[in-house]
Amino acid sequence: MRISLGANPYYWSMEDVAAFYEQVQDWPVDIVYLGETVCSKRRPYGLDGWIDLARMLAAKGKEVVLSTLTLIEARSEVGTVKRLVENGEFMVEASDMAAVQLAAERGLPFATGPSVNIYNAQTLATLQRAGLQRWVAPTELPRDGLAALLEEAEKLNIPAVETEIFAYGRIPLAYSARCFTARAHNLPKDQCEFRCQDYPEGLPVQSQEDQGFVQINGIQLQSGERYNLLSQWPEMQAMGVNVMRISPQPIGTGEVIAALRGMLDQGRTEAPAEFGGVNGYWFAQPGMDTVPAAEA
């Protein structure tokens, strides 16, 4: 089992991004995904900046993959995806079918992120024929659905495609043409003033009874709670999952990666209690629910 660090979904300053990936160099993480997946207006790094970061991390032995924008609305955004796909050095994680097509048309291998809908082995097989090397399962696909998919994939004789599971962090739940951060500040999206930069881990949305619901992150909604499947690594391993993904957060990401590394190396399943989190999706329950270890 390898560990990956997903693309950072938030809008951090250039300095914070640089400082974060400076640390990542020394974390026990195998694969690092880089790039802007949420909003094309955010430009702390151009393609060159990401490539520089990618080379820095690759020099430290990390496999680096460049992630593309999830919601594409304008031709200019397709152009950005095209330049990423044609970078000539690093594989791309497609967050949308435009990126899949651009890679496939060029005969380039690609990965897919959790926002590309792969719910069955037949879809996996079709995308494998187009060049798919690794896929991240949709977060709402439960354990049993994943296990059945992987069994079916074996029956269909799909050549090696790696499977990655979103295992820790705030779950990407939805995307919109609208910017919810701008809306919360009564600003039009065109003049958003980059308010999302003030919320390095998103802006909490609660019910009128103060129950946590979601986090607003620009045009994206994330789960209010963090997803935590760290303890489920043995069953993932048994069904053939290759990679567990940790999603960046401003504080504590390195600790989560180090803890998972330790659990994997020492064969332990107990995750540190302070990591908290929910796990309902894995057990075919509402995503915001938590199934206690005793019942899991």
Partner: protein, 331 residues
């Protein structure tokens, strides 16, 4: 432009056909489609009657098989594709790549339309589906502005169909799991959003509260119109303020931009609402038939008739409507 109307029952289909729909889209009575509601949709016999009724009057029937099957449901979904082909329907509306592959190989002569649930928003994405599955048409997500629709239509590799009227999804369709996060069931997996079985209404004095699996979605005073607790349309607390943090309960209405959609080369206008009554379908189809005819006859002079607009307004969610993403400032 063609008028594509929804029907969740045979009477609704007849209402759509009788009031001028060029095509009616339906679903089978299970989770193979994105309006999997109790008492809605078509069994074999009803579907057969529907196709006969529509075809006898020159209208087409499309079948939506637009959810995402998992391994344990695969054969049921493929059986639905086979059944639709056997019924002689005019097109399938699908989103799942594996299922599109199955349909393209098993029924190469049956036209395939890409569902809005596949959220294809670029010519590159459309090419993926056309090159591999020979899709003829794609339904665009309700996230693109009018200039973006025009840009996409210019040189699009397939016909485009856009939503004209009905409930508004503010999220990118096919990529929203808010519903399963709270209730365990989503449009992709179960064909439902904010499912009725998770809804609870509570009265407390003058106040009416709506909950979804326990989560408070909204509370209404005696003078307020209490809408269905769709997750993204509740009032929540952000930065200490309570408001419609994601979207107001409102309907989409694109009638005022019909000439521009027509000029852009959009092939069909779709009405949302397979869950709606035959009376609703009849009224809304009639208004849109008249509007499309007026627009086709004289686009430069086209103006939404006040009576059309008031008819639509009366049946809109929260009695409000919006141009949604088609209107740039909304984005």
């Amino acid at each position: 432009m063609d008028l594509v109307a929804p029907a969740g029952s045979l009477p609704a289909l007849k209402a759509a056909v009788d009031n001028g729909a060029d095509a009616v889209y339906i679903g089978f009575a299970d989770d193979t489609n994105a309006r999997h509601f109790a008492g809605l949709n078509f069994n074999d016999a009803r579907a057969r009657e529907a196709v006969a009724y529509a075809h006898a009057r020159g209208a087409k029937v499309f079948v939506a098989i637009n959810t995402y099957p998992q391994a344990n449901g695969w054969t049921r979904w493929t059986a639905s594709v086979d059944r639709a082909a056997e019924l002689g329907v005019d097109a399938l509306i699908m989103a799942d790549i594996g299922l599109l592959d199955y349909a393209a190989n098993s029924h190469p002569d049956l036209p395939l339309h890409l569902s809005v649930q596949a959220s294809a928003t670029s010519q590159e994405a459309l090419r993926f589906y056309r090159d591999r599955f020979n899709i003829r048409r794609a339904v665009l997500p309700r996230v693109l502005s009018l200039p973006q629709v025009k840009a996409l239509a210019d040189g699009a590799p397939v016909e485009l169909e856009v939503f004209g009227f009905g409930s508004l999804c503010v999220m990118v369709e096919g990529r929203c799991t808010l519903s399963s996060y709270v209730t365990g069931e989503s449009p992709n997996t179960c064909g439902v959003c904010s499912p009725a079985k998770a809804v609870r209404w509570e009265n407390d004095g003058d106040e009416l509260r709506s909950r979804l699996n326990g989560l408070l979605i909204d509370r209404f005073g005696p003078d307020e119109n209490a809408g269905y607790p769709t997750l993204c349309k509740g009032r929540f607390k952000v930065r200490g303020h309570v408001f419609h943090a994601l979207e107001e309960p409102t309907s989409l209405n694109t009638m005022e931009i019909l000439p521009e959609l027509q000029a852009a080369g959009v092939k069909a206008i779709k009405l949302e609402g397979r869950q709606r009554s035959p009376g609703y379908i009849a009224r809304v189809s009639k208004v849109w038939r008249d509007a499309l005819d007026a627009c086709a006859a004289a686009p430069e002079r086209f103006e939404p008739h006040p009576q059309w607009m008031s008819t639509l307004q009366a049946v809109s969610e929260g009695s409000q409507s919006t141009l949604g993403a088609y209107h740039r400032p909304w984005q």
